[in-house]
Symmetry: C2
Subunit: 445 residues, 2 copies
Amino acid sequence: MAESVERLRQRVEELEQELARERIRRSEGDGHCGRTRIQQMSDEVVDSNPYSRLMALKRMGIVSDYERIRTYAVAIVGVGGVGSVTAEMLTRCGIGKLLLFDYDKVELANMNRLFFQPYQAGLSKVHAAEHTLRNINPDVLFEVHNYNITTVEHFEHFMNRIRISYVRGRNGGLEEGQPVDLVLSCVDNFEARMAINTIFLCSPGCPGTHSVDQAGLELRNPPASASQVLGLKACNELGQTWMESGVSENAVSGHIQLLVPGESACFACAPPLVVASNIDEKTLKREGVCAASLPTTMGVVAGILVQNVLKFLLKFGTVSFYLGYNAMQDFFPTMFMKPNPQCDDKNCRKQQEEYKKRAAALPTQEAAPREEAEVVHEDNEWGIELVSEVSEEELKNSSGPVPTLPEGITVAYTVPKKTEDSVSEVTVEDSGESLEDLMAKMKNM
Amino acid sequence: MAESVERLRQRVEELEQELARERIRRSEGDGHCGRTRIQQMSDEVVDSNPYSRLMALKRMGIVSDYERIRTYAVAIVGVGGVGSVTAEMLTRCGIGKLLLFDYDKVELANMNRLFFQPYQAGLSKVHAAEHTLRNINPDVLFEVHNYNITTVEHFEHFMNRIRISYVRGRNGGLEEGQPVDLVLSCVDNFEARMAINTIFLCSPGCPGTHSVDQAGLELRNPPASASQVLGLKACNELGQTWMESGVSENAVSGHIQLLVPGESACFACAPPLVVASNIDEKTLKREGVCAASLPTTMGVVAGILVQNVLKFLLKFGTVSFYLGYNAMQDFFPTMFMKPNPQCDDKNCRKQQEEYKKRAAALPTQEAAPREEAEVVHEDNEWGIELVSEVSEEELKNSSGPVPTLPEGITVAYTVPKKTEDSVSEVTVEDSGESLEDLMAKMKNM
């Protein structure tokens, strides 16, 4: 039974791919891509060399070994307004391999952001993206999955794909069985909100909405998408470093965040951080409103995300743990948050212990957390600091602990005391399984 | 004689356009764009509405009248790594009309930035861009010019195009004879450097290089491209508001700047501002090196530029006069610089007088310069403030006056005392005329 469902899904995927190819053939003729594959990155300064301006980073003293980018594999979850541009930037930079995960189709309603074009409407985002990206840079390896990672069987598959991948080796061959080097969560706002409605926020007792509404805190960013929550589970368990990105529903703020299991706070340590905006709360309708989005904000968020990826992988500049973007005021807050020793996630606590051991084994100067200088005082359990946008009174009204945060950063929600039956009625739409079943399966993985 | 040259040029342009269409037909089959034109922007939340997520900005309380975007015309000078993405973002936002100016062709060496694709190699940038942009949003009007605005006859034509344009009216018709609403300078680094080499920096006595090298100041951004200098002339004369953008040659910093004639400093008031970087000067070769570039930095600069354009045209948020991006440290300095009452440009001084009159006629609270709060003290002729990255000693060694600037911002160069013969030998390559002739003609326009 389970097998025949799987076979049908595969057939659907095959048909979608074939449809995608058909429509692309019609819209792009013979599909002539414009350049052939290149074995070795060259720094020769000629018009025909697609890598000359990147290899120039070496001569400029920015990156010591740019070619190393071909040895890395990056997984992108969500190929929407941020994820698609993220994929395009990494493709143009000549990344070794990209793994793309999304279950959505391209719509004309997506045309207010970069990347997808009207003729691709109706195609799956991952297949449409793969075709465009291959034409842009045929040297990159692509692996695309047209499914929702938050359903149980896909989550297992996703876990396996990020745990074991195929990375282009330094000598141009393939190395089998390597994990991906980085997972990027680029679930964009609308889809994320839908996923959360399904899994996280639909019952009145669920963590999130109610306490937030009462306290008048920020709710324009979703508390955390299902993909983020599950991505966190996956990454904590595997010790997988990942970066998260988000754009607010009013389209005028966003952020990126680096999560290194054991070293920095995970989403179970503290509520996700969002950029505080000074928009009048009363002007914002909360129910049944289509999220706004802008190509500008999403382009900036994708740009600072991929810049952080390049700095992280190629070891140059300062890698940011948190960088926010407030488009109304052109304000870019940064911060670092240490993990919570009492984190609910047992894998996070395990990673914290392992990080301490690794840090203790390093020479003294390397052992210090990279952004420690930003932590001014540590008078709360989160190990974070500075003045919050949230008033003292609002903090008291909210039912969960709220950390004090640097100017311009706030929390997406506060977590009230959880009760067992608050989540018991919630079901996962795609798989038909309850959230309890899902969580139980995940714990057993 | 002059007429037959002009006729030949037109024929070349016609042939290039036809070639562009031919290559595009082959690569994209029947050229099916995927959507038809839309008469009226709708806020209906359906998958088939390309404007639903933009019109949602109204419901979110961000923009009061989003549809007004269709009444604006924007000119973009330079359709490279920043300009092409700028054009795409404005197209997706549904701008009324775009005028594109560039004389360059697409090369595979441009593939490390967003927008152009390998199959477009060899096409003129403006024609390749126009085709892609029309497919993305057929509601936008396009006017493209495949020429170099820094040659005398093209400069005149450029002046006429930004002075008188055709803007889509509120009622869906066309209003003739309106000036463009905004000019954007997106000349990217490599082309700009070439133009400067030709016009500005080639003789040892020219302003710029020598004093800069001696003082060890920043030279990774060109002092100002020819297009910027001439754009400034045009905009000061016409009282045309414009925005300028730039990316450093080492690809890890950039900036945007708003120049309102009479209200903010122009490029003749003070040397152009660039983002200070902490890269070791010694690692940077200055001669014969191909500029590095990254899709990330250029995407971020295009994103903050178009965000500023949207805030300026649609009147929301705080419009930035200067916003820098230091990618190595994720630092984003901002500032405001008042015009120099002793500016060399007589049109700038005239605009300053007119601005004072306009400001005096306004109610008190509106008359105050928007970013005045950022100016902490005014102890120098530039009316700008705070601590510079440049040491006192370096300032003394440089031969021109150097303003004190906010942290993270410095000047591209200092201007030494000019001598008559320092520029007399310089010729403009494209027109065969000397710079003196060019300047004389410009003064007479």
